[in-house]
Subunit: 270 residues, 2 copies
Amino acid sequence: MAIITPVRDPGDPRIDDYRDLTNADRRPDRPGGRGLVIAEGVVVVRRLIDSPYPVRSLLGVPRRLAELADDLAGLDVPAYEVDADTMATAVGFHLNRGVLAVADRAPVPEAAELARSAKVLAVLEGVNDHENLGSLFRNAAALGVDGVLLGPRCADPLYRRSVRVSMGHVLRVPFVPLPGGWPGSLDVLRAAGLQVAALTPAADAEPIAAAGLAGERVALLLGAEGPGLSPEALAAADRRVRIPMASGVDSLNVATAAAIAFHAVAAPVG
Amino acid sequence: MAIITPVRDPGDPRIDDYRDLTNADRRPDRPGGRGLVIAEGVVVVRRLIDSPYPVRSLLGVPRRLAELADDLAGLDVPAYEVDADTMATAVGFHLNRGVLAVADRAPVPEAAELARSAKVLAVLEGVNDHENLGSLFRNAAALGVDGVLLGPRCADPLYRRSVRVSMGHVLRVPFVPLPGGWPGSLDVLRAAGLQVAALTPAADAEPIAAAGLAGERVALLLGAEGPGLSPEALAAADRRVRIPMASGVDSLNVATAAAIAFHAVAAPVG
């Protein structure tokens, strides 16, 4: 049972995890970053509580903490109750959502183990925009993707903005940085019996809906919106698939293209 | 040939169309709104120039106007050249993209005429978020949708933010408010030989990939992300289709769900 603890001084050291979030968590995964996982809003805080990440505490206005009462019943951490002004001063901006929770990171699974148990995985190269990354995780969760492998030049899925845009689904879909050299590390997926299918706008790739991937064990290789996949990554794939596009349109957003591909390959039956 | 005209005074009345954009264009479609179409950035300005909307003028820093030199060659309107500070003062904020263009609205097509010539249309109910609406148009353009019909409670596709998020594709995909009562006005689509298929998360709807809609003449009925389609709209559809989703996930973003549906129904062949 979380203990509701009123805090009146925005400088109170018990709420240091939440201080000056805009600056403190610019790159939480880098040296100097605090490495904490921060959830904002009732829905995402609830997903954090249900996740493997060990929650350290909550900070919220009375109304939002009350909404979370059932979730807090099984949780043995402090819930700091503040008014909106105290919260804004500590956090550094006005937070509409009225509640935050903070957790430590958790160990990531082994790539080989995730690949063995997965039916469909997403493998990302150069997806370095936090919002696109968050949206991609939301789509992966909705469409039944079992995990995400991070190739080179990807953003941190646990960055605050990614967590928010994903609606907390980065806390739910397992992800792991692919170890070893790129794109040679894709071999770990093939060794686990997955086909590696690269999504590309190239005209000579197979239209994804006609590629016979539905129901197969597939690792979908996805690149960033502008540059797309590197030639090395494309060459390392077993096959290349595309989303047919109208002429004169540059591209889809990477999370949107991923959603179409996830649906074509992975959408849960039923 | 557009005439490049230097402007040094941010108060110059020749650039009044661009003044205080954050406030002036909060609801450009409403009484009191100025009703202008505003494009931001080289890519979107180029799409505005190529669109049916009559361009009134451009405003840009020298580097961006130079990038548009070829596009300006065939255009007989003033291009006001300013420095970044003059631009920021007139517009009311710092504009990274460095160039704007403004156009008048153009007459919309007749709904019945659009329906007769279209293979796939999107019909929206209550899509009132400007960013979602812009993303939806971008996806419609990319995936070969022939037009968008606006039912009740939709935002204005020509709002500045929608234009930007759509990457200018609202200027390219025809749209028209559906006339007459809702959802009775859907009859105009049936009269034109289109099936009306409503997208819904309801468990008893057909999975869209198995519904045999690919290549058919279809009007896809889409509702807002939270509430979805109204019971009246659902009841008025010829059939109901769904995107199979993992359990425990609320929903996809409406523009993302639309993209999956567009791909399933409309994606250009080849």
